[in-house]
Protein backbone atom coordinates (compact mmCIF):
# COMPACT_ATOMS: atom_id res chain seq x y z
CA UNK A 1 0.00 0.00 0.00
CA UNK A 2 2.78 2.38 0.99
CA UNK A 3 4.49 1.63 -2.29
CA UNK A 4 1.29 2.34 -4.09
CA UNK A 5 1.20 5.81 -2.58
CA UNK A 6 4.90 6.64 -2.90
CA UNK A 7 5.28 5.34 -6.43
CA UNK A 8 2.49 7.62 -7.52
CA UNK A 9 4.50 10.65 -6.42
CA UNK A 10 6.22 12.71 -9.01
CA UNK A 11 7.95 16.05 -8.66
CA UNK A 12 8.38 16.47 -12.37
CA UNK A 13 6.93 19.70 -13.70
CA UNK A 14 5.88 20.55 -10.16
CA UNK A 15 5.52 24.28 -10.64
CA UNK A 16 3.59 23.87 -13.85
CA UNK A 17 1.18 21.68 -11.97
CA UNK A 18 1.11 24.16 -9.13
CA UNK A 19 0.21 26.91 -11.58
CA UNK A 20 -2.70 24.81 -12.79
CA UNK A 21 -4.17 24.57 -9.31
CA UNK A 22 -3.36 28.16 -8.30
CA UNK A 23 -7.05 28.97 -7.93
CA UNK A 24 -7.44 26.17 -5.42
CA UNK A 25 -4.39 27.36 -3.49
CA UNK A 26 -5.73 30.90 -3.24
CA UNK A 27 -9.15 29.64 -2.22
CA UNK A 28 -7.72 27.24 0.35
CA UNK A 29 -5.54 29.96 1.81
CA UNK A 30 -8.40 32.42 2.26
CA UNK A 31 -10.74 29.72 3.56
CA UNK A 32 -8.03 28.81 6.05
CA UNK A 33 -7.94 32.38 7.39
CA UNK A 34 -11.72 32.38 7.74
CA UNK A 35 -11.74 28.90 9.29
CA UNK A 36 -9.13 29.95 11.81
CA UNK A 37 -11.35 32.77 13.05
CA UNK A 38 -14.74 31.07 13.07
CA UNK A 39 -13.20 27.93 14.57
CA UNK A 40 -12.46 29.75 17.82
CA UNK A 41 -16.15 30.49 18.28
CA UNK A 42 -17.10 26.96 17.23
CA UNK A 43 -14.87 25.68 20.04
CA UNK A 44 -16.13 28.21 22.59
CA UNK A 45 -19.74 27.43 21.78
CA UNK A 46 -19.03 23.67 21.74
CA UNK A 47 -20.46 23.38 18.25
CA UNK A 48 -18.00 20.91 16.72
CA UNK A 49 -20.67 18.31 16.07
CA UNK A 50 -22.93 21.02 14.65
CA UNK A 51 -20.34 21.72 11.95
CA UNK A 52 -20.29 18.08 10.97
CA UNK A 53 -24.10 17.98 10.93
CA UNK A 54 -24.38 21.06 8.73
CA UNK A 55 -21.84 19.60 6.32
CA UNK A 56 -23.71 16.33 6.00
CA UNK A 57 -27.06 18.00 5.54
CA UNK A 58 -25.51 20.22 2.85
CA UNK A 59 -25.05 16.97 0.95
CA UNK A 60 -28.86 16.62 0.84
CA UNK A 61 -29.08 20.09 -0.69
CA UNK A 62 -26.53 19.14 -3.32
CA UNK A 63 -28.38 15.93 -4.15
CA UNK A 64 -31.69 17.78 -4.44
CA UNK A 65 -30.22 20.35 -6.84
CA UNK A 66 -28.60 17.56 -8.84
CA UNK A 67 -32.00 15.89 -9.17
CA UNK A 68 -33.61 19.20 -10.17
CA UNK A 69 -30.92 19.82 -12.78
CA UNK A 70 -29.52 22.83 -10.95
CA UNK A 71 -26.02 23.75 -9.83
CA UNK A 72 -24.78 21.17 -7.32
CA UNK A 73 -22.36 23.53 -5.60
CA UNK A 74 -25.07 26.12 -5.07
CA UNK A 75 -27.33 23.35 -3.77
CA UNK A 76 -24.86 22.33 -1.11
CA UNK A 77 -24.50 25.95 -0.04
CA UNK A 78 -28.26 26.34 0.29
CA UNK A 79 -28.42 23.07 2.23
CA UNK A 80 -25.72 24.22 4.63
CA UNK A 81 -27.25 27.60 5.41
CA UNK A 82 -30.76 26.14 5.82
CA UNK A 83 -29.41 23.41 8.11
CA UNK A 84 -27.46 25.94 10.20
CA UNK A 85 -30.48 28.22 10.56
CA UNK A 86 -32.73 25.32 11.49
CA UNK A 87 -30.33 24.08 14.15
CA UNK A 88 -29.89 27.63 15.47
CA UNK A 89 -33.61 28.31 15.77
CA UNK A 90 -34.51 24.91 17.23
CA UNK A 91 -31.75 25.16 19.83
CA UNK A 92 -32.49 28.76 20.89
CA UNK A 93 -34.63 27.70 23.80
CA UNK A 94 -32.63 24.94 25.45
CA UNK A 95 -29.18 25.72 23.99
CA UNK A 96 -28.73 22.03 23.21
CA UNK A 97 -27.34 22.38 19.69
CA UNK A 98 -25.70 18.97 19.61
CA UNK A 99 -28.97 17.25 20.49
CA UNK A 100 -30.84 19.07 17.73
CA UNK A 101 -28.02 18.32 15.30
CA UNK A 102 -28.07 14.64 16.14
CA UNK A 103 -31.77 14.59 15.33
CA UNK A 104 -31.55 16.56 12.06
CA UNK A 105 -28.40 14.95 10.66
CA UNK A 106 -29.74 11.46 9.90
CA UNK A 107 -32.89 12.97 8.39
CA UNK A 108 -30.82 15.19 6.10
CA UNK A 109 -28.58 12.33 5.06
CA UNK A 110 -31.59 10.12 4.41
CA UNK A 111 -33.07 12.80 2.16
CA UNK A 112 -29.77 13.06 0.31
CA UNK A 113 -29.66 9.31 -0.34
CA UNK A 114 -33.29 9.41 -1.49
CA UNK A 115 -32.62 12.24 -3.98
CA UNK A 116 -29.54 10.46 -5.32
CA UNK A 117 -31.59 7.30 -5.77
CA UNK A 118 -34.16 9.20 -7.83
CA UNK A 119 -31.45 10.73 -9.98
CA UNK A 120 -31.06 8.82 -13.24
CA UNK A 121 -27.63 9.99 -14.35
CA UNK A 122 -24.18 8.98 -13.20
CA UNK A 123 -23.58 10.00 -9.63
CA UNK A 124 -20.08 8.67 -9.06
CA UNK A 125 -18.30 11.82 -10.19
CA UNK A 126 -20.56 13.96 -8.02
CA UNK A 127 -19.20 12.52 -4.83
CA UNK A 128 -16.40 15.01 -4.88
CA UNK A 129 -18.70 16.91 -2.54
CA UNK A 130 -18.19 14.28 0.12
CA UNK A 131 -14.43 13.94 -0.06
CA UNK A 132 -13.29 17.20 -1.60
CA UNK A 133 -11.70 18.16 -4.89
CA UNK A 134 -8.94 20.46 -6.01
CA UNK A 135 -8.97 20.72 -9.71
CA UNK A 136 -11.79 22.42 -11.43
CA UNK A 137 -12.05 25.53 -9.28
CA UNK A 138 -12.41 28.11 -12.01
CA UNK A 139 -11.82 31.85 -11.83
CA UNK A 140 -15.46 32.68 -11.15
CA UNK A 141 -15.72 30.14 -8.35
CA UNK A 142 -12.48 31.37 -6.86
CA UNK A 143 -13.76 34.90 -6.84
CA UNK A 144 -17.03 33.81 -5.21
CA UNK A 145 -15.34 31.70 -2.56
CA UNK A 146 -12.73 34.33 -1.73
CA UNK A 147 -15.38 37.06 -1.50
CA UNK A 148 -17.56 34.86 0.69
CA UNK A 149 -14.71 34.00 3.01
CA UNK A 150 -13.62 37.63 3.32
CA UNK A 151 -17.19 38.75 4.07
CA UNK A 152 -17.63 36.09 6.76
CA UNK A 153 -14.28 36.93 8.35
CA UNK A 154 -15.10 40.65 8.27
CA UNK A 155 -18.51 40.18 9.89
CA UNK A 156 -16.93 38.00 12.57
CA UNK A 157 -14.42 40.73 13.36
CA UNK A 158 -17.15 43.38 13.55
CA UNK A 159 -19.26 41.33 15.97
CA UNK A 160 -16.18 39.97 17.77
CA UNK A 161 -16.73 41.53 21.18
CA UNK A 162 -20.45 40.83 21.66
CA UNK A 163 -20.06 37.34 20.19
CA UNK A 164 -17.11 36.61 22.48
CA UNK A 165 -19.06 37.98 25.45
CA UNK A 166 -22.13 35.90 24.56
CA UNK A 167 -20.02 32.78 23.99
CA UNK A 168 -17.99 33.03 27.21
CA UNK A 169 -20.66 34.29 29.61
CA UNK A 170 -24.13 34.31 27.98
CA UNK A 171 -25.96 35.20 31.20
CA UNK A 172 -23.86 38.27 31.90
CA UNK A 173 -23.82 39.32 28.25
CA UNK A 174 -27.63 39.26 28.18
CA UNK A 175 -27.75 41.32 31.37
CA UNK A 176 -25.44 43.89 29.77
CA UNK A 177 -27.84 44.28 26.87
CA UNK A 178 -26.26 41.95 24.32
CA UNK A 179 -28.95 40.30 22.20
CA UNK A 180 -27.62 36.77 22.61
CA UNK A 181 -30.41 35.10 20.61
CA UNK A 182 -29.86 37.35 17.63
CA UNK A 183 -26.11 36.69 17.82
CA UNK A 184 -26.75 32.94 17.89
CA UNK A 185 -28.76 33.16 14.67
CA UNK A 186 -26.21 35.43 12.98
CA UNK A 187 -23.43 33.08 14.03
CA UNK A 188 -25.28 30.05 12.66
CA UNK A 189 -25.79 31.76 9.28
CA UNK A 190 -22.08 32.60 9.14
CA UNK A 191 -21.28 29.03 10.12
CA UNK A 192 -23.57 27.68 7.39
CA UNK A 193 -21.76 29.84 4.84
CA UNK A 194 -18.34 28.83 6.14
CA UNK A 195 -19.24 25.14 6.00
CA UNK A 196 -20.72 25.46 2.50
CA UNK A 197 -17.49 26.97 1.22
CA UNK A 198 -15.18 24.60 3.06
CA UNK A 199 -17.09 21.66 1.60
CA UNK A 200 -15.76 22.74 -1.80
CA UNK A 201 -12.18 22.16 -0.69
CA UNK A 202 -12.13 19.35 1.85
CA UNK A 203 -15.52 17.80 1.25
CA UNK A 204 -18.50 17.38 3.53
CA UNK A 205 -16.99 14.54 5.52
CA UNK A 206 -13.83 16.39 6.50
CA UNK A 207 -14.92 20.00 7.04
CA UNK A 208 -13.97 19.69 10.71
CA UNK A 209 -10.29 19.50 9.67
CA UNK A 210 -10.47 23.04 8.36
CA UNK A 211 -12.97 24.66 10.73
CA UNK A 212 -12.36 23.03 14.09
CA UNK A 213 -9.02 21.23 14.41
CA UNK A 214 -6.79 24.32 13.86
CA UNK A 215 -8.64 26.31 16.54
CA UNK A 216 -8.71 23.37 18.92
CA UNK A 217 -4.94 23.13 18.51
CA UNK A 218 -4.39 26.87 19.02
CA UNK A 219 -6.51 26.88 22.19
CA UNK A 220 -4.26 24.18 23.67
CA UNK A 221 -1.20 26.41 23.66
CA UNK A 222 -2.29 30.05 23.64
CA UNK A 223 -4.64 32.17 25.76
CA UNK A 224 -3.92 35.68 24.54
CA UNK A 225 -6.84 36.42 22.18
CA UNK A 226 -4.66 37.77 19.37
CA UNK A 227 -2.24 34.86 19.68
CA UNK A 228 -5.06 32.33 19.48
CA UNK A 229 -6.40 33.95 16.31
CA UNK A 230 -2.96 34.15 14.70
CA UNK A 231 -2.08 30.54 15.49
CA UNK A 232 -5.46 29.19 14.50
CA UNK A 233 -5.40 30.98 11.13
CA UNK A 234 -1.83 29.86 10.49
CA UNK A 235 -2.62 26.22 11.25
CA UNK A 236 -5.71 26.24 9.03
CA UNK A 237 -4.01 27.98 6.11
CA UNK A 238 -0.88 25.84 6.26
CA UNK A 239 -3.01 22.66 6.43
CA UNK A 240 -5.16 23.66 3.47
CA UNK A 241 -2.44 25.05 1.22
CA UNK A 242 0.12 22.45 2.28
CA UNK A 243 -2.39 19.69 1.61
CA UNK A 244 -2.89 20.89 -1.95
CA UNK A 245 0.84 21.33 -2.57
CA UNK A 246 1.52 17.75 -1.53
CA UNK A 247 -1.56 16.29 -3.19
CA UNK A 248 -0.65 17.53 -6.68
CA UNK A 249 2.48 15.38 -6.62
CA UNK A 250 0.47 12.17 -6.47
CA UNK A 251 -2.87 10.61 -7.10
CA UNK A 252 -4.20 10.49 -3.55
CA UNK A 253 -7.02 13.03 -3.07
CA UNK A 254 -6.35 16.26 -1.27
CA UNK A 255 -8.38 15.73 1.90
CA UNK A 256 -6.23 13.10 3.64
CA UNK A 257 -3.27 15.48 3.46
CA UNK A 258 -5.24 18.37 4.92
CA UNK A 259 -6.67 16.26 7.73
CA UNK A 260 -3.25 14.77 8.52
CA UNK A 261 -1.44 18.10 8.61
CA UNK A 262 -4.08 19.70 10.82
CA UNK A 263 -4.06 16.67 13.10
CA UNK A 264 -0.27 16.89 13.41
CA UNK A 265 -0.65 20.54 14.44
CA UNK A 266 -3.14 19.43 17.07
CA UNK A 267 -0.83 16.68 18.34
CA UNK A 268 2.12 19.04 18.67
CA UNK A 269 -0.03 21.63 20.45
CA UNK A 270 -1.41 18.99 22.80
CA UNK A 271 2.10 18.01 23.85
CA UNK A 272 3.27 21.62 24.13
CA UNK A 273 0.15 22.37 26.22
CA UNK A 274 0.94 19.49 28.59
CA UNK A 275 4.48 20.71 29.04
CA UNK A 276 3.31 24.27 29.68
CA UNK A 277 1.01 22.99 32.38
CA UNK A 278 3.76 20.90 33.98
CA UNK A 279 6.09 23.89 34.08
CA UNK A 280 3.34 26.03 35.57
CA UNK A 281 2.52 23.46 38.25
CA UNK A 282 6.19 23.09 39.13
CA UNK A 283 6.63 26.84 39.50
CA UNK A 284 3.45 26.99 41.56
CA UNK A 285 4.81 24.30 43.89
CA UNK A 286 8.11 26.15 44.20
CA UNK A 287 6.33 29.41 44.90
CA UNK A 288 4.24 27.66 47.54
CA UNK A 289 7.14 25.98 49.37
Amino acid sequence: MIEQVTSSFSTENYWELFWLVRNSVITAGVLGLMGGIIGIFIMLRRSGLVVHGIAEISFAGAALFLLAGLDVVFGSAVGAVVAALLIGVLALRDKDTSGVTAVLMPFGLGLGIFFLHLYQGRTANRFGLLTGQIVGVDDVQTRTLVTGAVVIAAVLILIWRPLMFASVDPQLAAARGVNTNLLTIVFMVLLGGAVAMSVQVVGALLVLALLVVPSAAALKVARHPAAVVALSCTFATVSAVGGIMIAIMGTVPISPYITTISFLFYLVCLIVGWRQRRVRQRSAVQAGS
Binding site: I40, M43, L44, I157, L158, I159, W160, R161, P162, M164, F165, V168, D169, Q171, L172, A173, A174, A175, R176, G177, V178, L219, K220, A222, R223, H224, P225, V228, R280
Partner: protein, 261 residues
Protein backbone atom coordinates in the same frame (compact mmCIF):
# COMPACT_ATOMS: atom_id res chain seq x y z
CA UNK B 1 -33.01 62.99 45.99
CA UNK B 2 -34.06 60.34 43.48
CA UNK B 3 -33.95 56.81 44.84
CA UNK B 4 -31.32 54.55 43.27
CA UNK B 5 -34.03 51.96 42.89
CA UNK B 6 -37.75 52.22 43.37
CA UNK B 7 -40.49 49.66 42.97
CA UNK B 8 -44.09 50.75 42.97
CA UNK B 9 -46.89 48.19 43.34
CA UNK B 10 -44.71 45.79 41.40
CA UNK B 11 -46.11 42.31 40.67
CA UNK B 12 -45.06 39.38 38.55
CA UNK B 13 -47.43 36.59 37.63
CA UNK B 14 -46.94 33.59 35.44
CA UNK B 15 -50.36 32.60 34.15
CA UNK B 16 -52.64 32.54 37.15
CA UNK B 17 -49.83 32.14 39.67
CA UNK B 18 -48.59 35.30 41.33
CA UNK B 19 -44.87 35.01 42.04
CA UNK B 20 -44.98 38.09 44.23
CA UNK B 21 -47.27 41.07 44.20
CA UNK B 22 -47.47 44.70 45.15
CA UNK B 23 -43.88 45.12 46.17
CA UNK B 24 -43.08 48.67 47.23
CA UNK B 25 -39.51 49.60 47.83
CA UNK B 26 -37.22 52.61 47.62
CA UNK B 27 -33.50 52.04 47.90
CA UNK B 28 -31.20 54.99 48.59
CA UNK B 29 -27.68 55.37 47.25
CA UNK B 30 -25.26 53.42 49.42
CA UNK B 31 -27.95 51.17 50.86
CA UNK B 32 -27.34 47.40 51.04
CA UNK B 33 -30.43 45.22 50.55
CA UNK B 34 -30.23 41.46 51.10
CA UNK B 35 -32.86 39.47 49.21
CA UNK B 36 -33.69 36.16 50.89
CA UNK B 37 -36.19 33.37 50.49
CA UNK B 38 -36.54 29.74 49.44
CA UNK B 39 -35.97 28.53 45.89
CA UNK B 40 -38.78 29.44 43.55
CA UNK B 41 -39.99 32.32 45.70
CA UNK B 42 -38.97 34.80 43.02
CA UNK B 43 -35.51 36.04 44.00
CA UNK B 44 -34.05 35.45 40.55
CA UNK B 45 -37.08 36.91 38.86
CA UNK B 46 -36.68 39.98 41.06
CA UNK B 47 -33.18 40.45 39.64
CA UNK B 48 -34.40 39.81 36.10
CA UNK B 49 -36.95 42.58 36.52
CA UNK B 50 -34.24 44.99 37.65
CA UNK B 51 -32.06 43.94 34.70
CA UNK B 52 -34.90 44.61 32.29
CA UNK B 53 -35.01 40.93 31.28
CA UNK B 54 -38.44 40.26 32.80
CA UNK B 55 -41.47 42.52 32.52
CA UNK B 56 -43.59 43.34 35.49
CA UNK B 57 -47.19 42.22 35.22
CA UNK B 58 -48.27 45.36 37.04
CA UNK B 59 -46.53 48.29 38.69
CA UNK B 60 -43.33 50.15 37.98
CA UNK B 61 -39.63 49.57 38.51
CA UNK B 62 -37.28 52.53 38.17
CA UNK B 63 -33.54 53.05 38.45
CA UNK B 64 -32.59 56.65 39.24
CA UNK B 65 -36.14 57.68 38.36
CA UNK B 66 -36.06 56.07 34.91
CA UNK B 67 -37.86 52.84 33.97
CA UNK B 68 -35.55 49.82 34.07
CA UNK B 69 -33.91 49.14 30.75
CA UNK B 70 -32.01 46.17 29.46
CA UNK B 71 -28.27 46.79 29.28
CA UNK B 72 -28.40 50.03 31.26
CA UNK B 73 -25.01 51.41 32.26
CA UNK B 74 -26.58 52.42 35.58
CA UNK B 75 -26.96 48.78 36.58
CA UNK B 76 -24.05 46.46 37.35
CA UNK B 77 -24.54 42.73 37.68
CA UNK B 78 -22.44 40.07 39.39
CA UNK B 79 -23.79 36.63 38.42
CA UNK B 80 -23.50 33.45 40.41
CA UNK B 81 -20.04 31.99 40.18
CA UNK B 82 -19.49 29.32 37.57
CA UNK B 83 -16.05 28.23 36.45
CA UNK B 84 -14.96 29.53 33.08
CA UNK B 85 -13.65 26.94 30.65
CA UNK B 86 -9.94 26.22 31.05
CA UNK B 87 -9.35 26.97 27.38
CA UNK B 88 -11.15 30.32 27.30
CA UNK B 89 -8.95 32.50 25.08
CA UNK B 90 -9.01 35.51 27.39
CA UNK B 91 -6.69 36.98 29.98
CA UNK B 92 -8.05 38.55 33.15
CA UNK B 93 -7.82 42.02 31.62
CA UNK B 94 -9.67 40.84 28.49
CA UNK B 95 -12.55 39.57 30.62
CA UNK B 96 -12.81 42.92 32.41
CA UNK B 97 -12.67 44.64 29.02
CA UNK B 98 -15.77 42.68 28.00
CA UNK B 99 -17.56 44.16 31.01
CA UNK B 100 -16.58 47.62 29.82
CA UNK B 101 -17.22 47.33 26.08
CA UNK B 102 -18.33 43.76 25.38
CA UNK B 103 -21.69 45.02 24.14
CA UNK B 104 -20.12 47.21 21.44
CA UNK B 105 -20.08 46.15 17.81
CA UNK B 106 -17.35 47.25 15.44
CA UNK B 107 -13.64 46.71 15.20
CA UNK B 108 -12.52 45.28 18.56
CA UNK B 109 -10.06 48.00 19.40
CA UNK B 110 -9.48 49.02 23.01
CA UNK B 111 -8.63 52.70 23.35
CA UNK B 112 -5.92 53.99 25.66
CA UNK B 113 -8.60 55.48 27.86
CA UNK B 114 -10.40 52.14 28.13
CA UNK B 115 -7.11 50.43 28.91
CA UNK B 116 -6.48 52.85 31.75
CA UNK B 117 -9.97 52.21 33.10
CA UNK B 118 -9.45 48.44 32.93
CA UNK B 119 -6.19 48.77 34.84
CA UNK B 120 -7.94 50.89 37.44
CA UNK B 121 -10.76 48.34 37.80
CA UNK B 122 -8.28 45.47 38.16
CA UNK B 123 -6.60 47.40 40.95
CA UNK B 124 -9.91 48.22 42.58
CA UNK B 125 -10.84 44.53 42.94
CA UNK B 126 -7.30 43.43 43.83
CA UNK B 127 -6.73 41.56 40.60
CA UNK B 128 -3.81 43.59 39.24
CA UNK B 129 -1.35 40.77 40.00
CA UNK B 130 -2.99 38.40 37.57
CA UNK B 131 -4.09 40.84 34.86
CA UNK B 132 -2.16 38.87 32.23
CA UNK B 133 -3.08 35.37 33.41
CA UNK B 134 -5.56 33.30 31.35
CA UNK B 135 -8.97 33.42 33.06
CA UNK B 136 -9.51 29.67 32.74
CA UNK B 137 -6.55 29.03 35.05
CA UNK B 138 -7.73 31.34 37.84
CA UNK B 139 -9.39 30.10 41.01
CA UNK B 140 -13.11 30.59 41.64
CA UNK B 141 -12.43 33.50 43.97
CA UNK B 142 -10.14 35.19 41.46
CA UNK B 143 -12.68 34.77 38.66
CA UNK B 144 -15.37 36.22 40.89
CA UNK B 145 -13.23 39.31 41.56
CA UNK B 146 -13.03 39.80 37.80
CA UNK B 147 -16.82 39.54 37.57
CA UNK B 148 -17.03 42.21 40.24
CA UNK B 149 -14.70 44.37 38.13
CA UNK B 150 -16.90 43.76 35.09
CA UNK B 151 -19.96 44.85 37.05
CA UNK B 152 -18.25 47.98 38.35
CA UNK B 153 -16.94 48.97 34.92
CA UNK B 154 -19.68 51.51 34.19
CA UNK B 155 -19.71 52.84 37.76
CA UNK B 156 -23.31 51.74 38.26
CA UNK B 157 -25.81 53.41 40.57
CA UNK B 158 -27.29 50.01 41.32
CA UNK B 159 -25.24 46.87 41.85
CA UNK B 160 -27.12 43.56 41.52
CA UNK B 161 -25.50 40.48 42.99
CA UNK B 162 -26.90 37.00 42.30
CA UNK B 163 -25.44 34.76 45.00
CA UNK B 164 -21.94 35.98 44.21
CA UNK B 165 -20.49 33.97 47.11
CA UNK B 166 -21.87 30.64 45.93
CA UNK B 167 -19.21 27.89 46.01
CA UNK B 168 -16.47 30.20 47.25
CA UNK B 169 -14.39 29.47 50.34
CA UNK B 170 -14.70 31.67 53.43
CA UNK B 171 -11.72 33.92 52.68
CA UNK B 172 -12.94 34.71 49.21
CA UNK B 173 -16.48 35.17 50.49
CA UNK B 174 -15.21 37.80 52.88
CA UNK B 175 -13.08 39.52 50.24
CA UNK B 176 -15.88 39.73 47.69
CA UNK B 177 -18.32 40.97 50.31
CA UNK B 178 -15.90 43.69 51.40
CA UNK B 179 -15.46 44.69 47.79
CA UNK B 180 -19.18 45.06 47.22
CA UNK B 181 -19.65 46.87 50.50
CA UNK B 182 -16.92 49.39 49.74
CA UNK B 183 -18.52 50.07 46.38
CA UNK B 184 -21.71 50.93 48.21
CA UNK B 185 -20.02 53.14 50.78
CA UNK B 186 -17.36 54.88 48.69
CA UNK B 187 -19.20 55.30 45.41
CA UNK B 188 -22.74 55.51 46.67
CA UNK B 189 -24.09 52.54 44.75
CA UNK B 190 -27.18 50.84 46.07
CA UNK B 191 -26.64 47.09 46.40
CA UNK B 192 -29.21 44.34 45.89
CA UNK B 193 -27.65 41.14 47.17
CA UNK B 194 -29.56 37.91 46.50
CA UNK B 195 -28.42 35.12 48.79
CA UNK B 196 -29.41 31.87 50.46
CA UNK B 197 -27.31 32.64 53.49
CA UNK B 198 -27.53 35.96 55.22
CA UNK B 199 -24.68 35.32 57.66
CA UNK B 200 -21.69 36.05 55.41
CA UNK B 201 -23.08 39.54 54.72
CA UNK B 202 -25.10 40.16 57.86
CA UNK B 203 -22.88 42.94 59.21
CA UNK B 204 -23.28 44.94 55.98
CA UNK B 205 -27.01 44.55 55.46
CA UNK B 206 -29.16 47.65 55.92
CA UNK B 207 -32.45 46.01 55.01
CA UNK B 208 -33.78 42.56 54.19
CA UNK B 209 -36.33 41.68 51.53
CA UNK B 210 -37.69 38.22 52.29
CA UNK B 211 -39.80 36.44 49.68
CA UNK B 212 -41.85 33.34 50.52
CA UNK B 213 -45.14 31.82 49.44
CA UNK B 214 -46.12 34.69 47.19
CA UNK B 215 -45.66 37.24 49.93
CA UNK B 216 -42.77 39.36 51.14
CA UNK B 217 -41.48 41.28 54.13
CA UNK B 218 -39.04 44.14 54.05
CA UNK B 219 -37.19 45.93 56.81
CA UNK B 220 -34.05 45.97 58.92
CA UNK B 221 -32.57 42.56 59.80
CA UNK B 222 -33.89 42.60 63.37
CA UNK B 223 -37.42 43.36 62.19
CA UNK B 224 -37.66 40.71 59.46
CA UNK B 225 -35.46 37.88 60.72
CA UNK B 226 -37.75 37.01 63.63
CA UNK B 227 -39.61 33.83 64.39
CA UNK B 228 -43.07 35.38 64.40
CA UNK B 229 -42.51 37.39 61.21
CA UNK B 230 -41.21 34.47 59.18
CA UNK B 231 -43.80 32.11 60.65
CA UNK B 232 -46.48 34.41 59.34
CA UNK B 233 -44.77 34.72 55.96
CA UNK B 234 -44.24 30.97 55.54
CA UNK B 235 -47.65 30.20 57.06
CA UNK B 236 -46.01 27.45 59.07
CA UNK B 237 -43.82 27.40 62.18
CA UNK B 238 -40.36 28.87 61.64
CA UNK B 239 -37.83 29.56 64.32
CA UNK B 240 -35.01 32.08 64.02
CA UNK B 241 -32.19 31.45 66.45
CA UNK B 242 -29.38 33.89 67.05
CA UNK B 243 -26.05 32.42 67.94
CA UNK B 244 -22.91 34.56 68.30
CA UNK B 245 -24.18 37.13 65.85
CA UNK B 246 -25.23 34.49 63.33
CA UNK B 247 -28.81 33.72 62.43
CA UNK B 248 -30.12 30.22 61.95
CA UNK B 249 -33.54 29.84 60.37
CA UNK B 250 -35.24 26.58 61.25
CA UNK B 251 -38.59 25.31 60.10
CA UNK B 252 -40.20 22.51 58.17
CA UNK B 253 -39.97 24.46 54.91
CA UNK B 254 -37.47 27.15 55.69
CA UNK B 255 -34.71 24.92 56.96
CA UNK B 256 -34.50 22.54 54.04
CA UNK B 257 -34.67 25.38 51.61
CA UNK B 258 -31.89 27.21 53.32
CA UNK B 259 -29.41 24.40 53.44
CA UNK B 260 -30.17 21.95 50.68
CA UNK B 261 -28.81 24.14 47.98
Amino acid sequence: MTAALSLNQASVRFGSRALWSEVNLALEAGEFLAVLGPNGAGKSTFLKVLLGLQRLTTGRAEVLGRPVRRGSAQVGYIPQHHNLEVETPLRAQDLVALGLEGHKYGIPWTSRKARARIEQLLGQVGAADYADRPVGLLSGGEQQRLRAAQALASNPALLLCDEPLHSLDLNHQRAITELIRSQAVERGSAVVFVTHEINPVIEHVDRVLYFARGGYRIGPVEEVMRSEVLTELYQSPVEVIEHKGRLVVMGEHAEGEHHND
